[in-house]
Every structure is written in C-alpha cells, then in structure tokens.
Symmetry: C2
C-alpha cells in the first residue's frame, strides 16, 4: 500500500484546476462538421490503390474554389519526410502563403527516401496542379504510412483525376477517412460564429477540419496530419500567427510516447468566402479574438480526439500543471508525467498511484520544493504539502470507470500553468507495436 487510506470523505479541497477542455463560448458546434463545412472548399476521399484492401480509402483531396491564404506547421524531426520539405518550400519560398489545395495519400510516408522521394513529391504537386489548373507551388502534399518505401507515382497518375472528379461540398467525411492509418475512427470537427458583433454584419464564419494520427510518434505509420479550413477573410501572415498559436495549445500538447514524427503537418486554408470583398481580419480586433478562439476550439478538439485514439488506449488523460515558475517548467512537468510509462500503466490498472506522478515531476527538471506540491487524481486530493493524504480508494476505483482521467498537479512555485493530453498504456499497446511486421 503506497497510500494512507480512509473510508470517510477527504478533509482536503480538490485543486479544481482549469484548462484542458476546449472553450466553446460564443461558438456554435456544426453538427457533423469537418473540412468542408467552411464555404469555398470541396473535398473527396477515394480508394486509389496505395493500400491493397479495396474497402480502404487512401487518397484525399481538399480544394479551395479560388487560390487562398494558407499557413502550415511542420514536424521538427531531422528525419522529416519529402512531402514536408516540398510543401514547406512551396508555401514559404514560391507561393508566399497562397495555395489551392492539399493532396494526401495514406499507406506510404515518402520518408527516408532521399532525393528520389523529393522528386516524387514535386511530381505529385505538379500533376495535381495541372488537374486543378494552378501552379505546382499552390499544391500542398502530405503522405502517411510506412517509411523507407517510394511513392507509386502511377497510382497518382491514374487516380488524381478520379479524386478531382469526386470533389464535393460534402466530401469532408470521405477525406477524413482516406487519411486514416492506425486510427480507429475518423476525426472531424467544426464550429461557426456570427460576424455581427465583430464588424462583419451578416456574415457567419466557420472553422472546421480533420486530422489523423493515433496521438503518437509512429514512424511505421508516420503520424499526424491535420487540415483545417475557414471561410473567414485572412491574409497569410496573420493566418500563420493564428495557426502557430492554436497548434501550441492543441496538437503540440498531445503526447503519447513522444512529440514529433517524420511527417507531422498541420495545414490551414482561409477562403474568405463567407464575406466576399470584406477586409481581412486584423490582429488586435474582436474579430481576430473570436476567430482564434474558434481555431483553438477546432484544434484542441481534434487533438483530444487524437490522444484518446492512441494505440491501445482505454482512457484519455488530461495532465494539468499549475503553480509553475514559468511556462517552460509547466510544460516539462506536465510532459514528463504524460510520457511516464509508469504513470500510464498505473492509469491502465486503475491505480491512483500518486507516487509515480511525484516521481515524474521530481525528475522533470521543473523547479519547486517537494513540501509545496499538491496532487489530485480525478478530483481526489492525494498529496498536500508534499505528503500523502487519506483518500477513499473505493471512490477512486469508481472514478476510474470514466473515459477521461484528470491528473492535477500544483507545484506551488509560481503562476504558470498548462494542460497536456495523453492516453494510458495497455497490453494492446505492446501487442500493436511489438507484433512482428509481416
């Protein structure tokens, strides 16, 4: 027994930390919404043949009716894949933030493929651009699947026209399926907000998107790809700033066993189609604040979906750290807890094991004194002033039945806080990742 137990209710107040749940104030959730909810976008998802199973969609195309503003964030992994290199070059150095669409294949990651892989990604942009009637530099490309295998360009030659023909206003759901790898379900979300009180009378703006990824670095199935669209009017620089901010508190706060794979990419397209001719949204305005809160809500909802779909996951875990000396300390403390196999196996085993949380935060490098630390597990106080406190273990077992588990830590060393999402660590994780690749 690592805990002192008690049958009575705890005399300690829960920490009641906030954060970790997307804020939806002033936003309307679009039912069944996704990457084509915003005006000005069409999408498709087809079985092209990258995968053997004819039931599996494996080629997604998202296209704007007109060239539009585009921003993106990419993996920082040195082993970044060819499509990352080519798309970043197109967007940053050639089109300067203008794009027409995104093409994604699943099954093959085009990573660790050298110069031949880069030429292949460039070819995909060029031939897709011809189909769409735009320069190659306005086509973004992403690939996800096994590493070290070259793209089959014949499949693109024969199937991109079919994907183009299949484009529709309600093709978002098919596109979300076509980018899946080990995901157990597609991940889509969209919100809308009224432009009336923020200087865009009569307009309703929508932000929606899709993503894939089981919330983990998984070089066999190179990991996260997200595509978000909006019909708000935005210029590329402002769009990029908004995206970087939203990714920082969403996709970059997900960890299953690490941070960045070889192919991680997040794209954001803005058509302006909900307010044709209107002035672009400027930073520092109420419209910008509303837009970024909508973007954050979409990114955070997709990120949570990714974490809860981690391979073998049985629980979504939200790790909240408050009272940190600065943001970096909050992040490293939360990340160390969220990446700890001992914490994650304890959650899998329904074990309110505060000792493992204390051990993780103690070795994280965050600055604090042990006698200032408080820990709650699922709202149950388990540590105060660095010392264990009695708690009702039966109540803990009941709360472990919930699909979402909150771990709250207050370091008592400052005023910075953060939230990170992860999942538990199960036998199925070992089975999925330990099975010999046949």
């Amino acid at each position: 027994m690592a805990n002192t137990h008690g049958e009575s209710a705890s005399e300690y107040e829960p920490l009641a930390l906030t954060g970790g749940i997307p804020a939806l104030d002033g936003l309307n959730v679009v039912e069944g919404g996704g990457v084509t909810s915003a005006l000005g976008f069409r999408a498709s998802g087809i079985h092209a043949g990258f995968r053997a199973n004819p039931e599996r969609l494996d080629l997604a195309l998202v296209v704007a009716d007109e060239p539009c503003a585009c921003a993106a964030t990419f993996t920082k992994n040195v082993f970044c894949a060819a499509p990352v290199i080519v798309s970043r070059h197109n967007l940053d150095d050639v089109s300067y933030g203008t794009a027409r669409g995104l093409i994604v294949n699943s099954g093959t990651a085009n990573a660790a493929t050298g110069s031949k892989g880069i030429e292949a990604a460039e070819y995909v942009c060029a031939m897709t651009g011809e189909t769409l009637g735009c320069p190659a530099s306005e086509v973004m490309v992403a690939s996800t699947g096994v590493i070290g295998v070259h793209l089959n360009l014949d499949v693109f030659d024969s199937q991109v026209p079919n994907a183009f023909a299949a484009l529709s206003r309600d093709g978002g759901a098919d596109a979300a399926r076509a980018i899946m790898t080990t995901d157990t379900h597609p991940k889509e979300f969209a919100v809308s907000f009224d432009g009336g009180d923020i200087g865009y009378d009569g307009a309703t703006f929508t932000v929606g998107g899709m993503c894939k990824g089981s919330g983990m670095i998984m070089p066999d199935m190179a990991t996260m790809i997200a595509c978000i669209t909006t019909d708000a009017p935005m210029v590329p620089d402002v769009l990029h700033t908004a995206l970087v901010g939203a990714v920082a508190t969403s996709f970059n706060k997900v960890t299953v066993d690490s941070d960045t794979s070889t192919n991680d990419s997040c794209y954001l397209f803005a058509s302006g189609a909900a307010a044709p001719g209107a002035a672009p949204i400027e930073p520092g305005t109420a419209a910008y604040d509303r837009f970024t809160s909508a973007l954050r809500a979409v990114c955070e909802t997709l990120a949570r979906a990714m974490a809860s779909d981690g391979e073998g996951a049985t629980r979504l875990i939200t790790v909240r750290v408050a009272g940190a000396a600065d943001d970096a300390d909050a992040d490293v403390a939360a990340r160390t807890i969220a990446n700890s196999p001992l914490v994650k196996t304890a959650i899998f085993g329904h074990d309110a094991n505060w000792g493992r949380i204390a051990g993780a935060v103690g070795r994280s490098g965050a600055r604090f004194e042990q006698h200032d630390v408080s820990i709650d597990i699922m709202g149950i106080p388990v540590l105060r002033a660095g010392l264990p406190v009695p708690f009702d273990e039966d109540e803990a077992l009941r709360r472990f039945e919930r699909p979402e588990i909150d771990l709250d830590v207050d370091l008592g060393a400052g005023s910075s806080s953060t939230a990170i999402w992860t999942c538990d660590f199960s036998h199925d994780y070992v089975t999925i990742n330990g099975d010999y690749r046949t």
Copy 2:
C-alpha cells in the same frame, strides 16, 4: 514492409562501434565476488520484519573494520527521500568523507515522509552508530520500497543488533539479497588487480560491490541502491572524483523508462586494508588509472545487470551512438532511442525496425543531417546515408534469439560517442506496473 529485403549478404560493412561492454584488461574477476571481497569489510543480510514473508531478507548491513574513506552519489530527484537527505548531510557536512558502514532496509522507501521521515533516518543512523561504536554521522542509511509510508523504528531497535551479530567476511551474498525489491536475482561483482607494477609491491587490490534495482524509476519500489567497497588506500576527495567518473559511464547510462528515482544512491567505501600504511593512491598515477578502470568495470557490470533485470525484460539492449557533434548530443540521441517505447516494443517483437530508431534520433535534439546517418541492428547494416539498405530479415530473426541486442547509430556529425543500456518493453512490463496495487 518498412524495409527493403534481400536474401543475399549485405554489401555494407557493419559499423563495428565499440563501447558498452566493460573493459577487463589487467583485471581479474573474483569468482562469486561482491561487497565483502575487499579486505576490511564484513556484511550481513537478515529477515528483520519489514516484509511479511519470513523467507525474504530485508535488512542489510555493510561495515568497515575501521572508519574509512567514503564517497557517494545520490538521486537528483526533487522528491528525494529522507535517507538521501540524511546520508548526504552526514557525509558532506559532518564526517567529511569518513564512514564506518551502510545500513539498508527494503520494503519501505521512507520517501514523501516529510520531517518525521528525516527524524526517522537520523534515528536509524544514531542507533546503528551505537551498535557499531561510532558517531551517527559515520553511518550511511538507505531505504527502498513503497513511498509515503513511515519506517517502523521498532524493527530497527530489535533487529539491528541481530544484523550486527550476523556480520561476516562472506556475508556479501546475504546483503545483496536483502536489498532486493522487484529484482529477480541479486547483483554482485568484484575484480582484483596486482599492485606490483603500479607502485604497491606485494599488494593485491580488490574492488567489489552489490546493487539492486530493476533499472527503472519505480517510485513504489524506490529504485537503485549500490554499495561498492575497495581495500585500496584512498582519501575521500580522490575517492569521490573516481566514483563520479565511474557512475557517469555506468549507472547513469542505464535507463529503462527514466533517469532518477527518489532514493537512488551509490556508496563507495575504501578501507586501505590491502596495503596497510601505504600512501593513498593519487590522481594522475598508474595506480589511479588501474583503480578507476577496476571501479568502472564493477559499476558497469552491475549497471548492465540492472538493465537486463528491468521489469518484464526479455533482452538487454545496448544503444551505442557515435559520430555525434559533442558528448551531450551523443547522450541525448542514445537516451532518446533507449527510452522510446516504440523501439523497445519492436525489440520485444523481434522487429528490426530502423524507422523507429531513425524517428527517435531525429526528434532527440542532437544535431545532424539525415543523409549522414548510418544504423546497424545487431551488427546488420540497415541504414546508410540516411537511406534503407537491403538486409536479410531471416538473419535478423536469428540474431534476435541472442540475450543481448546491440543498436548502433553513427550520426556522421562529429567524433563524440557513448553507450547506454536499457531493456525491451514487454506485456509483462504492463502487467507488473498496471496491476492494481492491493
């Protein structure tokens, strides 16, 4: 298939990196050697009653015949345990590197126990000192077991005299058993070397020790404790320098899922009994070099034993990184590979998955270009110039039958190198750590 396969022998030469295996040049392995192999030390291990099972030894005592030089290294975890705080204070601030012995209990870690825990550790030092006939400050104390539970001082009162009575020159094996927690076997090793050619004619010096720990941070069973003894003549400062150097390349190069627990401690005692009256060994001499090579051999052998006994482990993994820009890059690259659950589950599954190794090293923060990287798995070239190379997968499966798996990475970015030991990640790991604590 993440790899390009080939039936023929590889056209690529293996990297043949060195490091990872303790060097025994000029050293003699002491058969059955341990913490009492060096002259001037006695030890015992008894069942005191910290554990319910009367078959389990749970109190170890190691005593020098005379007060002797002592050095130690401790966990850097903020949640460090009371015995760490008390022993460090005794050694650094009171006895200035002189000690008479070490007392270790297993079953209770005396961690997260606040000021009461510190008073308990001080009490153990005082009453053990009375028994040994030395000041409390010359007694080192270590505890290992569950966190958040107070030591039972009555057990010390009644049983330390029994441990004292049981002290003997061949008590090392019992002591090594008494400090075990989740270890599956005791860990002991000793070497000796001749003093004739290094200025100590007629003397034979011995360095031997024991350790416990399943090579992982495990706050329920707070982790690593090592005790090493030598009969070489050493002053405390020199002994400390030698210990820090040896720990850096041994215990600090083991990682199962993290670095430092709340209780990690490594003690080194030097009696000088093999050369009574001789001058202490000085840095910069041949004797010092021989002594430190012996100390490294003992520490590295014990460290490897710890890694291979990781919970649920089926394989000892040695990760060697060469060609790094500096030592820090080598360390972080090797550590990121060694801590990757995806790499560790792949080894468990006998999967020569170079993509996961590349993914880990790519996100490690080490500086390199992907086209400069080479990877071997068990001596089989699998990546050259950042690109996969054909290899014989049947041969890889045969080599996976070995108990030790080598992963070699050359970053091609410099001349620094390192080796780190870890183990694979199995279903049993999840079972051991996910079982509800009853």
